[in-house]
């Protein structure tokens, strides 16, 4: 404890960064997953559907840590090219933004598949019933289709949240001072890495435990009125 206490603010800052990156990237991944699944099922243009398949295939083929580096470096090069083209000053891609976007983009690809399956499992009659009740397409989607799809997708969503957390432990490779980086730094400074790395371990374990509770509650919540799927 004596070794830990002077470095507590550093560790707390790291945990905050990790929580911010993971929650924001998960929200982004969910948005990509839901929008992408709808686009894959509904998009008229063949090009759009083909691009979505390419996107999910690429992400499934590349390790997370390589994809994070690739998106970070790639977006910086893109920014350089754009600023050169427009003649404006140099733009630096912030690592935090790159971290959130890259992890979100990676898990968005997995969630597209999840939500595609969930949407496919909902009987056509549900959409038709919503229309017959006079709901607009949009309202029908948000009030009728999506809640049922979420019920189907929840177990997979928990699995991917868990996997996303393990990927968020890698964002230090693009220079974010998250809980892992700060733990290693404090460990190097004191010559005693074990307490700090174990603190990081306990932090992740706590998040795992809490998210298990949260998803259990969500599953019960979304099961209300579920009965047997007809």
């Amino acid at each position: 404890m004596d070794t830990l206490s002077p470095y507590l603010p550093l560790l707390l800052h790291g945990t905050l960064v990790t929580i911010e990156v993971s929650v924001l990237s998960y929200v982004l991944a969910l948005l990509i997953g839901i929008a992408g699944a709808r686009a894959r099922l509904r998009a008229r243009s063949r090009l759009a559907r083909w691009l979505l398949v390419v996107y999910t295939t690429l992400v499934r083929g590349i390790p997370d840590i390589a994809a994070i580096l690739l998106i970070y470096v790639g977006s910086q090069q893109l920014a350089n090219a754009l600023t050169k083209l427009t003649g404006t000053g140099h733009v630096v891609v912030p690592p935090f933004l790159a971290g959130v976007v890259s992890v979100g983009v990676i898990y968005g690809a997995y969630l597209i598949e999840t939500f595609r399956g969930a949407f496919l499992s909902i009987p056509k009659g549900q959409g038709e019933a919503a229309q017959a009740l006079g709901l607009s397409r949009r309202t029908g989607f948000f009030l009728v289709i999506l809640p049922q799809a979420i019920r189907q997708a929840l177990p997979a969503c928990l699995n991917y949240w868990q996997a996303l957390l393990t990927s968020c432990a890698m964002v230090s490779v693009i220079g974010l001072d998250d809980v892992v980086r700060n733990g290693v730094d404090a460990g190097t400074a004191t010559g005693q890495p074990i307490p700090f790395l174990c603190a990081a371990l306990v932090f992740f374990l706590t998040i795992t435990w809490l998210s298990g509770l949260l998803f259990g509650w969500l599953r019960r919540r979304f099961a209300i009125g579920g009965g047997r799927a007809v």
Partner: protein, 228 residues
């Protein structure tokens, strides 16, 4: 893209590919070796051992491999009784650190996968084994385990891809795996993207080779499940 430099460095990327394969195959095999007895113990609900195994799986699956790897790599060096023991000759080498961390991690996922699949063995298979006069050990090794591995064949492919992707973390502990050589290549030639793109292409090729091989194996060995 500097294709000329990439062409000159093909040997480097080949070395990285070899190390990535090592860091995939060794942890997969070690993981299975550890997991089979553990999964059997979990299935038989051995006292003390089974709850301990469940806690082990929760700990390993609930925390990032990155932190586990750093604990093996940085953490164990802090302990004097390890630095003075024979094990230090092994733990000094980052390759062994990576292999140990990846194997333990793979073992936890294997245990979860195997114990679930073993408990799904149809009752009739146990009864058939008993009717044939097999002992419990014979039934386990000749009936239950082969059938279990056959049943989880599709997940085995996924598991191997996951371990292969996880092996990219090795570059964090200075190892020259595929991602490691890509970063070395970039540093050496003052580039930022090119090496990563080459590594990404090779990772994709590797992933879809594994996926393709398992699709063939499944067609061959799970043919009895496909509709006529």
């Amino acid at each position: 893209m500097r294709f000329d430099l990439i062409a000159q460095s093909l040997g480097l990327f080949a070395q990285g590919l070899v190390m990535t394969l090592e860091l995939t195959i060794v942890p997969i095999l070690m993981g299975v070796l550890i997991a089979v007895p553990c999964a059997l113990a979990l299935y038989r609900n051995v006292r003390i051992v089974s709850p301990a195994l469940r806690a082990f799986c929760y700990l390993i699956c609930g925390t990032p491999l990155m932190v586990q790897l750093l604990i093996v790599y940085f953490g164990l060096a802090q302990l004097d009784f390890i630095r003075t023991s024979w094990a230090w000759a092994i733990l000094r080498d980052p390759w062994w650190c990576a292999v140990i961390a990846f194997s333990i991690n793979a073992a936890a996922y294997w245990i979860a996968l195997l114990s679930g699949a073993i408990s799904e063995t149809p009752r009739g298979q146990h009864e058939a084994a008993a009717a044939l006069g097999l002992t419990r050990r014979q039934a386990t090794w000749l009936v239950v385990l082969p059938a279990t591995f056959l049943r989880i064949l599709p997940q085995i492919g996924n598991e191997i891809v996951l371990v292969m992707h996880a092996s990219a973390l090795a570059s964090v502990v200075t190892l020259q795996d595929l991602l490691g050589v890509a970063r070395t290549f970039n540093v050496r030639h003052y580039l930022s993207l090119d090496g990563l793109v080459v590594a990404a292409i090779l990772y994709i090729a590797l992933t879809f080779t594994i996926v393709g091989v398992f699709a063939r194996v499944e067609r061959r060995y799970l043919a009895f499940l496909s509709p006529p």
